[in-house]
């Protein structure tokens, strides 16, 4: 585990992509052969089933470190990560054990089905033999959430460089179905498993945001315009009688969407569709908040199926008659795609994402303004001659999003950040006016510079009214413009509505607290949709 701990440290300490890739390349050149597939699995989010409940880990750590529970909670607020908090509060280890990473993972998997007492004995003895950094990794192995700033693309580039293979091939290979205990690093990088596997998806082709006027893209006849939908990008794979639905997070989500299971019988073998999973009723797209009710659920009940029916808006065709057609041009792929979709027997949950016809950029700009009326985020522009690239590539595909909504709010709560930022109030809650009262409408963190954070921090220190744990109520004085992507009714929020993806657009030092927006303003926005 020492070598892996070193890798994690190197990855965390550098903020330069090249350094990270170098650290990964070195790791894959030097590490224990059997560890490598496990590391790839961890970094790509292939989680084993969690062997020990979070709550137990927490309880044991509190008992062992001999601190009250509230103090553990305070510490957690300051650290911002449970695995790390546990690693830091535990007493120092009394001895040292070195086991390779894959052995730890296997041992943890064997805890499945054991009693809590047996699990406890194992975990406590591990804690007592690991350094703080190793403990942190051990705890992360239990939780399965390794988020350390390594994107799939970066990992793939590093493996490609180390194994001297084509990056697309590696991406294919690691995105397919494989288990770290039954595959070697060499097998994985040579992709020997993917041919026999029916499920493998293709890397998604991603677009950059349009950073210029569309006029600069040339003539409109070169471009296919489609709506940009706000759902979950997905790929539907049908091969040898089996159906697989992949999300862009490279997770298999087939079971979550029974509405699409008819495709198993209806789609010809050797077909792969690219599209968007959306909440859809009578052919109309519903807001993202509706779709949210269906995400990350282990089981789905009848009322969820009725309230948030799912549909799939198809963008593209990647495999046709069992042939990879990604290098055929878009206009050709679209012809084949339409043929396939029009042949489907059920026409109520899978739809061709419509192509918007337009003759001038000015006309398209006007159409774009109406995107919100149909719960779209704007427009996608795809060059008719474009191939389906792997990953993000400039030039062929552009997203041309509508400008976000904005609302002027006043800050009423502030909370300290984590770690070094534990000294600064960095997380804020904002309110709008509702008659004489203020009502919270959003919580946001990003969007301020370090200098502004320091300024707000000093304001909070001087103007804190009350404290609730880590939260301070402050004098409602600082006005912030909040940008957001959508608005929906919500029973969970006091205001009766929820903003989608709120963030600080700017600090309105020019405005006073009595100039902020009202709840009525937001309601009108909601009703106008």
């Amino acid at each position: 585990m020492k070598r892996f701990a070193q890798l994690i440290q190197e990855l965390e300490l550098s903020n330069k992509t090249n350094d990270k890739i170098e650290a990964l390349v070195n790791y894959f050149s030097e590490a224990d052969e059997s560890d490598k597939p496990y590391v790839i699995a961890l970094f790509t989010g292939k989680k084993p089933k969690r062997p020990v409940a979070t709550n137990l880990i927490r309880q044991w750590a509190i008992a062992l470190s001999n601190i009250p529970e509230w103090l553990f909670t305070e510490s957690y607020h300051s650290v911002g990560d449970l695995s790390e908090t546990v690693a830091l509060v535990l007493p120092n280890a009394e001895h040292a054990i070195e086991k390779p990473l894959h052995q730890w993972v296997k041992e943890l998997a064997q805890l499945q089905g054991k009693t809590d007492e047996e699990k406890k004995i194992y975990v406590l003895s591990a804690w007592n033999s690991l350094t703080t950094q190793e403990r942190f990794i051990f705890n992360k192995l239990i939780s399965g959430n390794f988020r350390i700033g390594v994107s799939n693309k970066m990992l793939v580039n590093a493996i490609a460089k180390q194994s001297q293979q084509d990056a697309n091939k590696i991406m294919h290979s690691i995105m397919g179905k494989w288990q770290p205990y039954s595959i070697s690093y060499t097998e994985l990088t040579s992709g020997s498993h993917v041919n026999t596997d029916n499920s493998w998806p293709y890397p998604f082709c991603l677009a950059y945001a349009l950073d210029t006027e569309p006029q600069n893209l040339g003539t409109p006849t070169e471009w296919q315009a489609e709506w940009k939908w706000d759902g979950i990008r997905g790929q539907i794979v049908k091969r040898n009688g089996e159906l697989f639905i992949w999300s862009r997070g490279e997770e298999l989500v087939t079971e979550q969407f029974p509405e699409l299971h008819f495709l198993k019988d209806d789609l010809p073998d050797g077909t792969v569709l690219d599209g968007e999973i959306l909440a859809v009723k009578d052919g109309n797209v519903l807001p993202f908040s509706t779709l949210q009710q269906r995400l990350n659920r282990k089981s789905i009940n009848k009322s969820q199926l009725e309230n948030a029916p799912i549909g799939f808006f198809v963008y593209d065709l990647l495999e046709y008659q069992a042939k990879d057609i990604r290098t055929s041009i878009l206009s050709q792929r679209r012809v084949w795609l339409e043929k396939i979709i029009n042949r489907l027997k059920h026409q109520n949950s899978v739809f061709l994402s419509p192509v918007i016809s337009f003759t001038s950029w000015e006309q398209l700009a006007k159409i774009r303004e109406t995107a919100r009326e149909i719960n779209s985020e704007g427009i996608m522009l795809k060059n008719f001659h474009s191939i389906f690239h792997s990953g993000r590539k400039r030039g062929d595909w552009w997203k041309w999003k509508i400008n976000p909504y904005t609302v002027d709010t006043v800050m009423i709560y502030a909370q300290k950040g984590s770690g070094r930022r534990a000294n600064f109030y960095t997380d804020y809650t904002f309110a709008v006016r509702d008659g004489e009262k203020l009502i919270t409408i959003a919580k946001a963190y990003s969007g301020l510079t370090d200098k502004e954070i320091k300024e707000v921090n000093s304001f909070v220190n001087k103007n804190a009214i009350e404290k609730f744990g880590p939260v301070r109520t402050v004098k409602p004085e600082l006005v912030f413009e909040i940008a957001f992507e959508g608005i929906a009714e919500s029973k969970r929020h006091k205001a009766g509505l929820a903003l989608r993806f709120p963030r600080i657009a700017r600090w309105r030092k020019d405005k006073k607290a009595d100039e902020i927006n009202t709840l009525d303003d937001l309601r009108q926005l909601l009703d106008s949709k």
Binding site: F72, E74, S75, S78, V79, V89, G417, R420
Partner: protein, 345 residues
């Protein structure tokens, strides 16, 4: 009557009519140590440890109005017996013990319990009232022994050398810089920024022995710096001068580096949790050793720490002060100095 009270100017001793570490100008200020959030400019008269005077002289150009004491030396101010004891924080740092009619109060300023090899070691003092900091007053902060930390700094420097990188350590010009110099002195030359060189010079004039270092000047070649160790204050951490060095690798030395979020927040290549403050076990040991009836918790995790002390049976309360912006205050002092001297770097 209480021996100390917290006023809007600072910690006040009414019986003696003086302030300790005031943040507003007063007639008589007793200073625990030279960091800029404790030692402010503008007071009429100062009283501090013999080795804090060179800092005040160097930074604020004070001399005639600064009276000094050694550790364990007592003076009598209007009937209040005042004695300085080592706080182990930085060179010259002192706990201030006040005694009046059998009542004893100790104001500790900032302190650490591990001996750093350069500041006189912290000494616990029995008292009725103890004023403590709580900068790292959470159980997540437990320092590694400093030898281990210096070993990892040396390893880091060695690996930078091998990769043709320049090792740059970010450290406060007062305290951390001298500690690094003391422990890293050896085969490689240590290059220090002017603000550090000036303080070192002042300390040497006052009789403190420090390993030899080289002041950074525009004449020194990048190649030489790459082969040595460069120490600069936080004010220069993001400077163009650093970016222009040969493959700069930046290592921050601060207790905040114990937590991953702390390391990520700064654009550094390495973080070393080397602190001049007491960690969680250090704070608890120090406070228990005072046997104080009342503990007043100033800057840091004041609310959490005082709540915990009360739960373990130590009578504690949090007090509002303006200490604890050590980092910003120190940065400002260095920035001013950098501007005044109009340095190239």
């Amino acid at each position: 009557m209480a021996l100390i009270e917290f006023t809007n100017k600072g910690i006040y001793c009414k019986q003696g009519n003086f302030y300790i570490d005031p943040w507003q100008p007063v007639d008589k200020a007793v200073i625990t140590h030279g960091h800029a959030d404790h030692a402010k400019w503008g007071n009429k008269n100062y009283l501090c440890h013999t080795l804090t005077k060179p800092i005040l002289t160097e930074r604020y150009d004070l001399s005639d109005n600064v009276e000094t004491l050694s550790y364990q030396e007592t003076i009598n101010i209007n009937g209040v017996k005042l004695t300085l004891f080592p706080a182990g924080h930085v060179i010259g740092s002192a706990q201030i013990k006040l005694e009046y009619k059998g009542e004893i109060a100790v104001v500790s300023g900032d302190y650490k319990t591990e001996y750093d090899g350069i500041s006189t070691a912290f000494e616990p003092i029995k008292c009725h009232t103890f004023v403590t900091e709580s900068t790292f007053g959470l159980p997540i902060y437990k320092w590694q022994p400093q030898q281990q930390l210096f070993d990892s700094i040396r390893d880091w420097v060695a690996s930078n050398l091998q990769k043709n990188k320049t090792s740059i350590l970010i450290a406060y010009s007062l305290g951390k810089a001298q500690r690094l110099i003391k422990h890293l002195a050896g085969n490689q030359s240590i290059f220090v920024h002017q603000t550090i060189a000036n303080l070192n010079h002042a300390f040497e004039n006052a009789g403190v022995e420090l390993p030899s270092t080289i002041k950074i000047t525009p004449e020194i070649k990048k190649d030489e710096l790459q082969k040595g160790i460069v120490i600069v204050p936080p004010a220069l951490a993001d400077s163009r001068w650093i970016k222009n060095l040969t493959n700069p690798a930046i290592g921050i030395c601060s207790g905040w580096m114990a937590v991953r979020a702390g390391r990520r927040w700064r654009s550094a290549d390495a973080g070393f949790a080397l602190s001049d403050h007491a960690d969680w076990p250090g704070l608890l040991t120090a406070i228990r050793a005072t046997e104080a009836e009342k503990v007043m918790v100033t800057h840091g995790s004041t609310a959490t720490f005082s709540r915990y002390l009360n739960e373990i049976g130590i009578n504690a309360q949090e007090v509002k002060t303006q200490y604890g912006d050590e980092e910003e205050a120190e940065e400002k002092v260095d920035e001013n100095e950098i501007k005044e001297e109009n340095l190239n770097i």
